[in-house]
């Protein structure tokens, strides 16, 4: 047994588990599900960082696809005495110096968690909410993304402590329940275990909420920075875009089309359309697959000017909402009408330029004559050439 390795504190878990058994179904639905459009900040610890950010965006009228969070209370309910015992037993075998063995141990822990029977009330709450989502979207068994959303009171970086799994294009309540279990078990990937060990965090300090969100079927998707990453210009939104789902852009498998859009007058200041050879999209079998882009679409811009402007406006709105430069993931849903088809998937603070000290660009304060002289003596474009 590893002395240093914290194990799950059964006593700590128990009150939650016990309190659950007394609840009625209606009450469970209310407590276990938080719809993004009804999210408020007091619920952050119930839904985890990822869901909270989607809820925040929805509340700020940033168009994220509709969806809901299954709260950490649902996660807490799986921890029966038996499960806790099984997991603890496996955790005790961990030797933090033996990474290979730990991969196998992690796999076993995850199997144990994924085999657990999901409490009926959780299944029912999920079923009711998913049904409502399908109805809202007008689609039977609407495809959803199922995402883990770790939460940790008092820990600054719950996402790392918990790691994150995302499952795309999940249809039907049965598959959703399966993926929810996988999200829960993802708290015990070897990396997550090792990370918590290194940071000295207790395993039980981290809980897992799960997000269930309508899947966008994107014509194109990508990322947007609310500044020009090449020079830190905050008046610009830099957009990388490629065909299909965002995976291709995020993983770097394609060189995306690259645009620069002015935040204020929404001019497309720069455009560089590249050759995009692959895209991720939903196959007829209902799975996400990497596919070759047909030749005549490879060198075509994947965005219209109006769509670029809409993305820039959204990114700016996110930046205003969060009060800091943002790194936004977005997509253009091919099934939504123009004008409503741009959706945001995620918004995170931009970290490179935002951390640089702010330096005044003005020289000589209010002395406009000196400034005019230097403007005339060294015209801008000669300076730009440097």
């Amino acid at each position: 047994m590893c002395e240093a390795c914290p194990v799950i504190d059964w006593a700590e878990m128990m009150p939650t588990v016990r309190s659950f058994t007394a609840r009625r179904v209606e009450a469970v639905s209310d407590d276990l599900i938080v719809w993004y459009d009804r999210y408020d900040r007091s619920q952050k610890d119930l839904v985890g960082g990822k869901n909270a950010s989607l809820g925040e965006m929805m509340v700020a009228e940033l168009p994220v696809p509709p969806g809901f969070a299954l709260t950490v209370d649902a996660y807490h309910q799986i921890w029966t005495e038996e499960l806790v015992g099984q997991v603890n037993e496996l955790l005790r075998t961990i030797d933090h110096d033996d990474m290979v063995a730990n991969i196998a141990t992690s796999k076993k822990i995850r199997e144990v968690i994924e085999a657990v029977e999901v409490p009926e009330m959780v299944v029912e709450a999920l079923g009711v909410a998913y049904g409502a989502l399908c109805e809202h979207c007008g689609v039977e068994d609407v495809p959803v993304a199922v995402r883990s959303s770790a939460t940790a009171e008092d820990l600054p970086d719950a996402s790392f402590a918990g790691q994150q799994d995302t499952f795309l294009w999940i249809r039907g309540i049965d598959d959703i329940v399966t993926k929810v279990r996988e999200c829960w078990s993802s708290l015990f990937t070897d990396r997550a275990i090792a990370y918590r060990y290194q940071m000295g965090y207790l395993h039980e300090a981290i809980s897992m909420s799960v997000g269930i969100q309508k899947m966008v079927d994107p014509k194109a998707s990508g990322v947007a920075f609310t500044l020009n990453p090449t020079n830190g210009d905050k008046s610009q939104v830099a957009i990388d875009a490629s065909w299909g789902l965002g995976e291709a852009v995020v993983s770097g498998e394609v060189t995306p089309d690259n645009y620069l859009v002015d935040k204020v007058i929404h001019e497309i200041v720069h455009r560089n359309v590249s050759t995009k050879t692959v895209e991720y999209c939903l196959t007829d079998e209902g799975i996400v697959a990497k596919q070759a882009v047909e030749p005549d679409r490879q060198t075509v811009a994947c965005m219209t000017d109006d769509e670029l402007k809409a993305v820039a406006i959204l990114a700016r709105r996110a930046e205003k909402h969060y009060g800091a430069p943002q790194d936004v993931e977005w997509a253009i849903d091919q099934h939504l009408p123009d004008g409503e088809n741009v959706v945001m998937l995620q918004s995170r603070p931009e970290t490179v330029w935002s951390q640089k000290p702010k330096v005044s660009k003005s020289k000589g304060g209010g002395d406009y004559m000196s400034s005019i002289v230097s403007t005339l003596v060294a015209p801008l474009h000669t300076r730009k050439a440097n």
């Binding site: 003005s362 005019i372 060294a378 000669t382």
Partner: protein, 600 residues
């Protein structure tokens, strides 16, 4: 293949059969052996932005006086540290300019001089501008008061009783001398504020580019653009007249704008006509060209031009289009743009600098936008009318074959002509004028026609390594980049690059427009391709889908008006009128500054 220099002015072969063309201009104006080394080692560009057509002898006056006045303000008045004047020459009828920089060793010493002199103007701008408006009105009144009527058979009794002694012949010559002086005066006033205004604008521009390296030029222009600008007033008045005509059921009166008499009589006693009478002085002293040529048509004298625009506005009104200019919305949009960029600045110190520079730009900009109406439209209209009056007198008195012939004389030759007229009126003897000038004018018309058909090169001589002269960049939009584009213009791809002068993308059929007559040929949805667009073509803008020019910076009059009317535009492409032909399908990206020929 890209060349490293442009042809020497001495290598250029002009059109056939124009021997003696140099005599059409003052001796100091053509290139010549006397200054060959100097001229050969400079960079010259054809100012097709202002003078796209061959100059007649008298029309050369404005070019010479304008460029000399611009130069004088830079070099002798304000001591612009890096910039002296702009040298000018005429080659086969077309003006070539060459900015003269200041020796780098001498720039430093000029800085305190510039700061004191320009500083005085910036600090007292509003009162000086107020004074300027008065000076312009006085100049116009004085031009109008000049007397170019035929000399009398006998002087008035008052000349005798009041002991005047100086007679009408003396006065005619004095008034002509005064006329030339007043034109120079006008051009001095024109440049009294202009370059300082551009300098203040450039300073704000530079600051914005420093704070926001990727900010589009257009955004900066939007922040300083005036909302109620005198230059737009004539066009706004046409809309008022169109609306009144519709309201009183007189819309059909404008159906045939060419029928000036018919239109006017249909309007007798109407509110539309009353409005016309009320505003035509001064607002319809509006030229359909740029004011620099004798053949530019002035609305007051050629009502068929504004009538046609009124007819187009009436059509729009009848289609239910709101043609009014949404002043409040334009102002609100400008305020939004300003406040958003201001918020995006990093520090309070920057916001203070932004406020200061934008404030100064706001003070100077009304001049930059409005001088064009006061000088190029109003004063020039009055001056051309006066010259035509003199031409008519010369024809009537048998001095010249035709009233219009006066523009084939140089301005100094008109002095000689009037001496001939006066002295022989005094003697009561025949003049030599008709016999002397008749054949000369005949020959000059021939030469001028050939020069007009010639296609002059964009530039001549040795280009500088880097163009630093601020006004060349600002006024003419000529940068190191555009020079290298010109040098590499053998590229036959057909794509053109220029300044992103007015945003948006449009595709459509190209129509080449060289003069006001061509404007009338524009059809709905076409793309206007011109050496430069005159602001007075504004009423054509609702028709066109986009606009492309050979020459012009982001602050050229054309760019300002294109933005105002929301028409995508690319200016300063260098060769649009030679690469594009009427009827081609072209794509204009006014945001990226590119023009692509889509289909031959």
């Amino acid at each position: 293949m890209a060349e490293s220099r442009f042809p020497s002015p001495f290598e250029i072969e002009g059109p056939e059969g124009v021997e003696g063309w140099e005599d059409l201009y003052p001796y100091s104006v053509p290139f010549g052996d006397g200054r060959k080394d100097y001229e050969d080692n400079r960079f010259w560009f054809w100012d097709s932005m202002h003078w796209g057509q061959a100059l007649t002898p008298w029309d050369s006056t404005f070019m010479e006086m304008a460029i000399a006045s611009l130069s004088q303000m830079n070099s002798r008045h304000y001591r612009i540290p890096p910039a002296d004047g702009v040298d000018f020459r005429v080659l086969y009828g077309y003006p070539y300019l060459s900015p003269v920089g200041v020796d780098p060793d001498k720039i430093e010493a000029r800085i305190p001089q510039f700061m004191e002199r320009a500083g005085h103007y910036f600090m007292n701008w509003d009162s000086l501008y107020e004074g300027w408006l008065g000076k312009i009105r006085t100049t116009i009144e004085e031009v109008e008061s000049l007397n170019f009527s035929p000399l009398p058979e006998m002087e008035d009794m008052a000349i005798i009783t009041e002991g005047v002694a100086l007679g009408s012949g003396y006065q005619l010559q004095r008034d002509y001398h005064r006329f030339k002086d007043l034109i120079l005066q006008t051009w001095q006033y024109h440049f009294e504020f202009l370059n300082l205004g551009y300098a203040a604008y450039l300073d704000f521009f530079g600051f914005c580019k420093e704070a926001f390296p990727s900010i589009p030029d257009l955004a900066i222009a939007k922040m300083v653009a005036g909302v109620e600008v005198d230059l737009f007033r004539p066009n706004e008045e046409l809309k008022v007249i169109a609306q009144k005509a519709v309201d009183e059921g007189l819309a059909r009166a404008f159906d045939d704008p060419e029928n000036v008499e018919g239109t006017r009589s249909a309007l007798t006693g109407s509110a539309a006509q009353a409005h016309w009478d009320e505003v035509s002085e001064p607002w319809f002293n509006f030229t359909s060209g740029n004011g620099f040529y004798h053949f530019d048509k002035i609305w007051k004298e050629h009502p068929q031009i504004p009538y046609a625009f009124i007819r187009d506005y009436i059509t729009k009104i009848e289609e239910g289009v709101d043609i009014s200019r949404p002043i409040e919305a334009i102002r609100a949009e400008r305020d939004r743009v300003i406040s958003e960029y201001r918020d995006l600045l990093d520090t309070d110190e920057d916001r203070e600098a932004f406020d200061g520079k934008l404030g100064l730009a706001g003070v100077v900009f009304p001049y930059v936008e409005n001088h064009n109406f006061y000088i190029e439209h109003w004063t020039m209209s009055v001056i051309w009318r006066k010259l035509k009056e003199l031409g008519a007198t010369c024809a009537k008195e048998g001095l010249l074959p035709d009233a219009g012939d006066i523009v084939y004389l140089r301005r100094d030759e008109v002095d000689e002509l009037l001496w001939d007229y006066y002295s022989n009126w005094a003697v009561n003897a025949p003049t030599a004028a008709a016999h002397h000038w008749g054949p000369i004018i005949e020959r000059r018309k021939e030469i001028h026609a050939k020069l007009s058909d010639w296609n002059p090169p964009k530039a001549l001589g040795e280009p500088p390594e880097v163009i630093t002269e601020p006004f060349t960049i600002m006024l003419w939009g000529i940068t190191s980049d555009s020079v290298s584009t010109w040098l590499g213009s053998d590229d036959e791809s057909g794509d053109l690059e220029g300044m992103a002068a007015s945003p948006g993308v449009a595709e459509g059929k190209a129509r080449l427009v060289f003069n006001p007559e061509d404007v009338a040929d524009l059809e709905d949805g076409e793309i206007m391709v011109a050496p430069i667009t005159a602001p007075s073509w504004a009423p054509a803008f609702p028709k066109i889908r986009a606009c492309v020019t050979d020459i012009g910076g982001m602050m050229s009059h054309a760019a300002i008006v294109c933005r105002e009317y929301g028409v995508p535009a690319v200016t300063g492409t260098g060769f649009a009128t030679s690469k594009i032909t009427t009827g081609q399908l072209i794509r204009v990206d006014g945001s990226a500054g590119t023009v692509t020929i889509v289909e031959e």
